[in-house]
Symmetry: C2
């Protein structure tokens, strides 16, 4: 599977799609090629804004991405939409799978939509998306939207992938947080109450104000307060204002140097995570060590063995 770098850099969509397929491949030769490709394109990456978009199922993520994406392309920006879906690691993902949910955007020549890959064997569910994101940047996209479902560990991986994390919510009280873990709120750079339309309009305003107050109160030391906005993705109301806010925040991050710093930390964080994973993989690839690990873990869990002793015993076995 050879990728024409020139075509990729020119923004050719078929080449980009083929390159993403290459990095997603589980074939060993493909993986080697993929790593070489990533290494080659690295100098052409880093020029986009990377925006995560999360929220519980039913919050209207697709409709929001459609409206937000069209707003961006109308500003002359080329956007790519990627997805991380931990809920279907094998099939290839339910989110973004149905492109008809983004009918307008999928026909926009300035938009590229790619459904969720199956989970990568290394680096967690978001790792292949990280490489797809770099390929989109090499292909000249200005903004990369990474969609994900607000249900767990993948959110943290996505937060380590993007410059800016957007959390969509529904109008209504605490009950509406169903499905969102509390920790996810910590990741948000902005919260958007969607479905501020019809009978829900007033409710959405109340929710917005309540959450804004809560965020004001919860803001820790030296942290900027998360802004809460509302919109109707369906009626495309307030989408322009949201885009203005997001880009104003991103511009500020860039100007202050925070963005560069954040990306540097994110890169190192991925490296460390992969080192950890590979170390553990090599530990568990030794059958006897893996067996011992399980035995010790069981004993430690039941307070029948001491964690430190057990850990030392395991590592001695592994490195002997």
């Amino acid at each position: 599977m050879s990728i024409d770098l020139k075509l990729l850099h020119s923004g050719d969509r078929r080449t980009l799609a083929k390159a993403i397929t290459l990095v997603e491949s589980t074939n060993t030769n493909h993986q080697k090629e993929a790593q070489e490709l990533i290494q080659k394109i690295l100098p052409q990456t880093g020029k986009s804004f990377r925006i995560g978009i999360s929220g519980t199922p039913g919050v209207g993520k697709s409709t929001f991405i459609e409206a937000f994406g069209k707003e961006l392309t109308s500003r002359g920006l080329k956007i790519a939409v990627l997805a991380v879906d931990p809920t279907s690691p094998v099939s290839g993902g339910s989110i973004l799978g149905d492109k008809t949910r983004m009918e307008e955007l999928s026909q926009d020549s300035n938009a590229f939509i790619r459904p969720s890959p199956s989970s990568g064997s290394l680096g967690g569910v978001a790792f292949k998306t990280r490489e797809a994101l770099l390929l989109c940047e090499a292909a000249g996209f200005d903004v990369i939207l990474v969609e994900t479902v607000g249900v767990g560990q993948s959110e943290y991986e996505v937060a380590d992938l993007v410059d800016y994390f957007t959390l969509l919510m529904l109008p209504g009280g605490g009950d509406e947080l169903q499905g969102i873990k509390k920790g996810i709120l910590e990741l948000a750079d902005i919260v958007i109450v969607n479905k501020a339309d019809g009978a829900n309009k007033q409710n959405a305003e109340t929710t917005k104000n309540d959450y804004q107050n809560a965020f004001n109160l919860m803001a820790g030391h030296d942290e900027s307060v998360v802004q809460v906005l509302s919109c109707s993705a369906l009626e495309k109301s307030n989408i322009k204002e949201i885009a203005d806010t997001v880009f104003s925040n991103l511009d500020e991050l860039k100007k202050s140097g925070s963005l560069d710093k954040k990306r540097k930390e994110q890169n190192i964080s991925w490296f460390k995570r992969l080192v950890d994973e590979l170390l553990k993989k090599s530990l568990f690839s030794d059958k006897e060590t893996a067996k011992l690990y399980n035995e010790l873990s069981e004993k430690v869990g039941a307070s029948k063995a001491n964690p430190l002793d057990s850990a030392k015993q395991l590592i001695d076995k592994f490195l002997s």
Copy 2:
């Protein structure tokens, strides 16, 4: 340094103090003895309630522990107070160092107070405290209070040590969260607004209600809402009610089986953390691998190398 197990189990304070000194020792022989000791006492551990007490400096942790501790000993409970202080890893800790701040409690025959140890070389700053806690349990203490400063990673370690995490706050708005990281709020099982006395009384009530509202709103799916209470540790007002709430929560956790489950997970989590640490220690103990790690980390940070490639290169080098 031989420890008389019979004396330890009888609750002899000098033996307990000596045993804790043994587990805190950096001497290799002592460490070996310490691990044997911990292994021997494991069957006698697990019978206490383990309560973390955190809050920014100035919030009145010592005064609170004094008042709360006296309330518990007045109920016939034997309590031990330990400390984790990441701010002074070498000197042995500023918190609890000044026992005169807990004048009454330090003279109470049913209370045992132990200042913060210097940071353990393995397992993070809280690891030695974990072993001290087990020793206190073996010595028959009913409640172990673990004091810590609300400033960072150590809070997560302490949360992995205790059954119940108490966060103290000051009356006042968001500004008062100075020094507390937002993530710390996530760890809390209960929040207590201290210094509800004198001119601050009304302010403390307002703060309590504001935070209760915020917690109600922020409570995620399937999570119980954190309760917010107020007290004056100085005037010993509302301390009894707080103790009632804490023990009612703990009893519920115990009855439902959540406590056993939590402790099992905590044990395994310590084991995993120690395995990780020992693995990394062995990686970095090889000078060439450590050098390569730093080089690659630098390159990856600057987007000049690919995390996956770099991680593979490092592990190959290490295991070759």
